[in-house]
Subunit: 375 residues, 2 copies
């Protein structure tokens, strides 16, 4: 039986490449994990998600507990079987989305009481209930229940919030049902305050987790502050455990974070942008709504191997977008996910070959020189 294990293959400065082994298979790192909020990576067949090179996808506790409910998913054999994704699945704890999506939230030491945005029904999330839900979903990687500290927050607010999350981290660890191949990640909080990040990392190390996430970033603080926070946080995390930057991000965010020692990412950006006609390419972002593409026979990105780039012109993609055809989101989502995976693949190879800095510089230069459409 597979043990939950992280093998580090190579390091290059702070950057690392490795493989995380889980009950449902391996994930090579640095890795981007597509978001499958409601048990589907929107507009994609799971086979197509896998074809891009993605090995792990994300499920959202908040959405799934409301619909179709964790108990129903559990009765139907777990999330892998329910959504036909045989590979690893990471679920978030629900904490972040309860605070950003639910109505009439009430936060106490015990947890969060809230009203569903779907039907107004009343629910409670606690560390114990979050662990139970993620267990029912059969997540390979379970996340601690935490409070995502809002930005901006005073030092005192950020400290109080972080310390609550640390108490919840202990309760999450206590409630987590260990099984071979399944792991639990702690989440470092503390806003943009270096001393709080250090305190949080120490608290989590003391409890002991299978992996460590950096939470509370990509919430409006900007790339510079995100990177400087990583610079003061990552050194406090154990080198032999995977590090996950939650909810990040733009391609350049990920490249910079990998240089700072991050192994895992998730973000709705490639999928959401695919549904709003924005494509990420090696030469910047392209907005397919723009009329300048309507007679353009060229592919979106001539160096991309996805179906959107191999078989179609920009003119056709523009036509799909303007006609509001479902195939538009399907093809653009596929392309964006392929691009994100290609960036990760390039990073993994560059790290293994000791040229991570050069790869990052070339990536940023090419992106900056490209043809960027107004969004």
């Amino acid at each position: 039986m597979t043990q939950f294990r992280f093998d580090l293959h190579a390091t290059d400065g702070a950057a690392r490449c490795g493989t995380l082994h889980t009950a449902h298979g391996p994930m090579d790192t640095p890795a981007f994990m597509p978001v499958g909020t409601a048990a589907t990576v929107k507009a994609m067949m799971p086979e197509s998600v896998a074809a891009t090179g993605a090995q792990t996808i994300l499920g959202n506790t908040y959405h799934l507990m409301l619909r179709p409910t964790a108990e129903r998913v559990g009765r139907l054999g777990g999330l892998h079987r329910f959504m036909n994704w045989p590979g690893p699945i990471l679920t978030d704890s629900g904490g972040f989305q309860v605070m950003s999506l639910a109505k009439l939230r009430k936060l106490t030491e015990d947890g969060v009481t809230f009203q569903s945005h779907v039907d107004g029904s009343r629910h409670v999330l606690t560390p114990e209930r979050s662990m139970e839900i993620q267990h029912l979903l059969d997540a390979d990687i379970t996340m601690c229940f935490d409070e995502c500290t809002p930005f901006p927050a005073t030092l005192q607010q950020a400290a109080q919030s972080m310390r609550l999350s640390m108490r919840w981290a202990q309760r999450s660890k206590d409630a987590f049902i260990e099984r071979p191949g399944y792991g639990l990640f702690g989440i470092v909080q503390g806003g943009v305050h270096p001393e709080l990040r250090a305190e949080s990392a120490a608290a989590l190390r003391h409890i002991g987790f299978d992996g460590y996430a950096v939470g509370g970033l990509a919430v409006g603080e900007g790339q510079e502050l995100m990177f400087s926070t990583l610079d003061v946080t990552v050194p406090h995390l154990p080198a032999d455990r995977p590090r996950y930057l939650m909810g990040v991000g733009r391609p350049s965010d990920m490249v910079g974070a990998v240089l700072r020692g991050i192994d895992m990412f998730d973000c709705v950006m490639p999928t959401r942008s695919g549904r709003t006609a924005q494509a990420f390419t090696r030469r910047g972002t392209v907005n397919l709504r723009n009329a300048r593409h309507q007679d353009d026979p060229r592919p979106l990105d001539e160096d991309c191997t996805c179906p959107a780039c191999r078989h179609y012109s920009r003119a056709y993609l523009q036509h799909l977008v303007r006609s509001q055809e479902i195939l538009g989101p399907m093809l653009l989502t596929w392309h964006n996910l392929q691009f994100y995976q290609d960036v990760m693949k390039g990073l993994r190879r560059a790290i293994a070959e000791g040229r991570a800095q050069a790869f990052a510089q070339a990536f940023l230069d090419q992106e900056a020189a490209g043809d960027i459409d107004p969004a």
Copy 2:
């Protein structure tokens, strides 16, 4: 170079099976042709359409002339290349859709003047312009420009409308640019009046076409009147040319029409129903909105080989529909198209083996005994 040619392989009563050869490949008949209105079979990758067994798809002159325009498609290499469909394409003439979709139509002997439903712009469709558009689109099968007689219509109205269509058929034939592998179909009109259908068929035979369509049915007359109209129309069509029943239909419509000598069909029903949660199965129609499916671990149709049936439960499909996830229309459209192709495949085999009547009876019995959801 491929000639446009229809090979008849077997007959069984009035039913026939054969192969139509076109510039972009063959089509085995009886055939169902999925509708790709705006240069996409909605919610489907073209590879997936082909995977169901479909060999020919339909494009709509009316939609494509308005957006992205026939001239643009022509500049970009034709419809096959534009939409990545290497197989045969049939385009309608625009006549039917101008009358049903456009605003402020004006019909004269010359053609139809109308306002686009997209942007209100003014356009003219004549037999000559319809031939030009279908040529620019590079349709393997071009349809004559006709007026679809409304139902109900008096004998006099139906006669006048049909005779106009026959004059337009001659103009279509005169304007059609012949090329090896490309064919032009005439369209029999005449409403539900046997003498007009006979007159129309004779007029078209006199002009001479590569195939003969039956138009003006499935417009509200009901299955019984549709079948009786076929009974009095098909005998007037040449046996050595393919016969196409336009815009039909429900599975039982197609089965009954094949028994009456029809070779080709198109209809938006499987694709449109796929987007509104209705699935066609061997045991009747299933409405995935129905809450009774929410805990059902069974596949939609256990005898179906499509991805929706092989990899997912009814519970999951119901979840996708309720959550308005794009994957719902994707999977249900795929299933419905697979089902339609399976019906055609079953009919072809049954005709070849001389058991078309028995196949049809078994099909209708099984459908009638099935679990039909209220729509």
